[in-house]
Symmetry: C2
Subunit: 330 residues, 2 copies
């Protein structure tokens, strides 16, 4: 098999996060589903933004966060996603490039600006996201470069894109290219509501195209319309090579054939903002996996990376993740 | 005298801060004056940005920070400054508006994007700033609205603008309007290097137009080409009604006629990022002053506001300043 240039290449919605603190009653007043993500148009985004307090901006996007985490751990990453050539697009591109993540997708030529995600952080550190996709909507199968996919050990797909048919086609193209080159494909389900909207298509994707699945409790239960976490867990076995099921402070379960690992969550001194927890879990696992570590060790790195990102405001690592993992794993 | 609508109206360079951590040797390698501010063109800003690590974006601009602090303390503020109608401009406008600061300056019609300041924070919490003014350059005397100036108890001028003749004319217009309406004028010298470049013009401004002066040790020594802080202090007495001279952890000295107050710095648990210390000092003082408090109390509020902003990343308050001041002043 040819040499790889990347450990992981990710395909995602390129977004800049606009982080704002809110009270729970604000979410209720706006009828926003706490902990979830809703898609809105530009005018709805602007109208909500006008009601919010002062904000902090950081590059985001679920898959972008994962690739930033992978690079911070020392992995070789690449990213496919659409920004505009505007101030937010420049920030998004800079932050990945600064970490050494290859990001070669041409900027969108549409008029829509770079997408942004209003991240509403409540006092209990939960985040509720209101996303205006903007330029991210312009990603199509034409942006999936054969050579780049073939050069990566794992192609990682962000489930949030599954709301658009163009992006679904891009996913299938990427998965087919990866498998034809003897590589593997990973998917994160991203959001329970998104799974609800596209359950059959997600199941077909998982069964036919995905080797490594990431899902939290809500998402995996929604995928199989299961009553309990355990019931969902029984169903996913056999549908993909590896399933990583995350449960916040209850830790995670990693399944692979007959192999099962129950991984504890890493202790967190002070929970500040849960944004990016799942993204960094995936970063840690995929880093360990592509380094050839066993599943238990990869899971441990995943937990350490997730614990770091929830201990501060923002969805990308602040600490030196590589040093942190070296210290914790001893 | 007519009722006021604002406690303070500020005129400044409207900028979004791009916060990045750097090592000291990076500043040396780039020949950047640690702790200072340099103005650069767009291509120089972009070239430096490309060498920097992942960043966090927050609304900034010295005077913008001051007005945000004033509003957070409960003061009534207004702001005059130029942004473009782009993503950074939207962020800047939002963050002031969200705090209730009136910001009615029309967006720039020039092609230049909203200005940005690369804020390089070193391990000792010092900040070095590299500023691309962009749209902020477009501010002229035409943007100074008579009614707004007349409606404010104090008109506050950001010394950084003094590099441009158009902005100097805007300052003189604002100062003349304010005094004609029986209001007061305040100036912050902003930067020792800026004072070096325009010493005579700054001295004339202070002597002829300024009632309340803010300066740090470097700036006041540069203004009078004085050997020592004390020598500079002797010179500034009589040149304006009130002079607030700040000295970082050594606290500040407030002079007014024969009245002198030596104000201790508020203790800081952990110094993280000194960006905005002077801006928030001015916010606290001007808030106290326009509430009619005595100079010592206004100085104490200034110290509390400055201590809050240096205890975290970014140049605008994170904590509830109003509550913090109530708690500390008892």
């Amino acid at each position: 098999m040819a040499e790889t240039r990347y450990d992981v290449i990710g395909i995602g919605n390129a977004l800049v996060d606009v982080l704002v603190s809110v009270e729970d009653r604000f979410l209720e007043g706006e009828s926003l589903p706490k902990g979830g993500m809703v898609l809105v148009e530009a005018d709805q985004s602007d109208a909500l933004y006008a009601k919010l307090g002062p904000s902090t901006e950081r590059s985001g996007g679920s898959c972008g966060n994962t690739m930033a985490g992978l690079a911070a751990l020392g992995g070789r990453g690449a990213y496919i996603g659409k920004v505009r050539d505007d101030a937010f697009g420049q920030v998004f591109r800079h932050d990945l490039s600064a970490l050494g993540v290859a990001f070669e997708t041409a900027p969108s030529a549409d008029a829509d600006p770079t997408g942004k995600c209003l991240v509403l952080v409540s006092p209990d550190a939960q985040r509720t996201m209101v996303t205006y996709l903007g330029a991210a909507n312009a990603l199509t199968a034409a942006d999936i470069e054969k050579a780049a996919i073939e050069a990566a050990k794992v192609t990682y797909l962000e489930g949030y894109l599954f709301d658009r048919d163009d992006a679904k086609r891009a996913f299938i193209k990427a998965a087919d290219l990866a498998h034809a080159a003897g590589r593997e494909v990973s998917l994160t389900l991203s959001d329970g509501f998104c799974v609800d909207r596209h359950r059959e298509a997600f199941r077909a994707l998982v069964e036919d195209h995905v080797d490594i699945l990431f899902a939290n409790e809500d998402e995996i239960k929604s995928l199989y319309q299961a009553e309990s976490f355990d019931a969902a867990l029984q169903q996913v076995r056999g549908h993909c090579k590896i399933a990583c099921l995350t449960r916040s402070e209850k830790g995670s379960v990693i399944l692979s054939g007959d192999e099962v690992h129950v991984v504890d969550a890493e202790p967190v001194d002070k929970l500040v903002d849960t944004t990016g927890a799942g993204d960094l879990y995936a970063a840690g696992f995929l880093f360990g996996y592509t380094q050839g570590y066993d599943l238990a060790k990869a899971g441990r790195i995943a937990s350490i990376a997730a614990a770091e990102v929830v201990s501060h405001y923002g969805a990308r690592p602040d600490a030196d993740l590589k040093a942190l993992v070296a210290e914790r794993l001893g």
